[in-house]
Each structure stands twice: as C-alpha cells, then as structure tokens.
C-alpha cells in the first residue's frame, strides 16, 4: 500500500491530480484510513493509473475516461478508443475548414491589383 506521494512518483501523476481523480470517482484509493483520511493505493491501482495517464496523453477528457472506467473488464475500451478517434477526426475536419476559409479570405484580398 502506497501513500499518495509515493504513488504519485510511481505513476507520474501529481498528488493534486490523484486527489482530483479520487474526487471525480475516476480513480479511488484502494483504502482510506478512517482515522486520518489518508489515501492508500495498491498495485492494482498502478495499472489503472498508468492507463489513465496514457489515455490523457491520447487526448481523453475526464468524462471520457470515466466512461472507460465504468466497465471494470474494459471490454468497451476498444469501442471508446475508436469513438475518440472519430471525435478527433471531426475536429481535424473543422480545422481544415478554417484553413480553407482563411485561404479564401487571402485570395479575395489579392483580387485587387495595383
């Protein structure tokens, strides 16, 4: 069982992030000492924390990660990854539209020769 600082070092997540995730019920400590409210994490938590860390880097939001965690067996992980991928592709599309509009704006500005 690891205390929060130790666990933060192991996982690379900050203490504040761990407290935040606990508050969001995204990653709850394996045990909380009722005497002092200290959070204790175990080896199972390590797997979950590194998964969350990875998903964050993939652009997942907290809400999306909560969806992932809802099924303990992670049988929906693949579907959620695909879904996230589609969301990102949509964002890319929107940005490409903006680029096109900027190009049009640039072109319209050049239609006035000297």
């Amino acid at each position: 069982m690891y205390k929060i600082s130790e666990f933060a070092e192991i996982t690379g997540l900050s203490k504040e992030t761990l407290r935040y995730y606990a508050e969001m019920k995204l990653l709850e400590p394996a045990f909380i000492d009722p005497k002092n409210n200290y959070r204790y994490y175990d080896d199972g938590s390590i797997f979950l924390a590194t998964l969350l860390s990875k998903l964050r880097k993939l652009g997942f939001t907290i809400q999306e990660m909560i969806s992932v965690m809802e099924d303990e067996s992670f049988s929906n992980l693949e579907a959620l990854l695909v879904q996230k991928k589609r969301k990102i592709l949509k964002q890319i599309n929107e940005l490409q539209l903006q680029v096109e509009e900027i190009d049009e704006f640039l072109a319209s500005g050049k239609e006035e020769p000297e």
Copy 2:
C-alpha cells in the same frame, strides 16, 4: 452615430461582446458621452466590427485580433492570416499524432489472439 443595441443589430455582435471588445480595447466606440457613458459607434466602426466578426469565425482569438487592429492600415493583415493558418496546421498535426497513437494502442491490444 449608433447606440450599442442598434450597432449590435447591424454587426451581428451582441451587446455584451461589444462591451467586452471595448474593454479589451479591441473595438472602441467612436464616441463616449461623458454625461452618461453611453457608447456611440459610427460607420467606420461598422467596417471594423464586421472584420472582427469574420476573423472570429476564422478561429482568431482576441489577442490575435488585437494584433490585427494594432496597425490601422491593416498592412499586416495578410501576414497575420498566414501566421494563423500555420498555427491551425500545427494543431492539425498534433491531432493527427494523437490519432496515430490511438491506432497504435488499438493495434497493440489486438496482438493477443484467443
């Protein structure tokens, strides 16, 4: 000279947006009546407001629009448009990297057949 509501209707910007832009020194009224602090806009303001409205739709932030407005002749507008385009392309790149990482993650999960 138009009062704020009238000007809002003409330009399509909300009153709050106009007040916000005034506060940000992005689009200052042509005249402010010192007796009641009423903001008055003129025809020159219309051109600027529609330009800002257009830039917002192109994804420009307030700060970026402030850069545009800094030169009254807008001789730097083209350069700033190009610069903005580059920023967006960079964002697109980052998102594409995320997609690739998700693909890798998906592929790694499939390496374990039944």
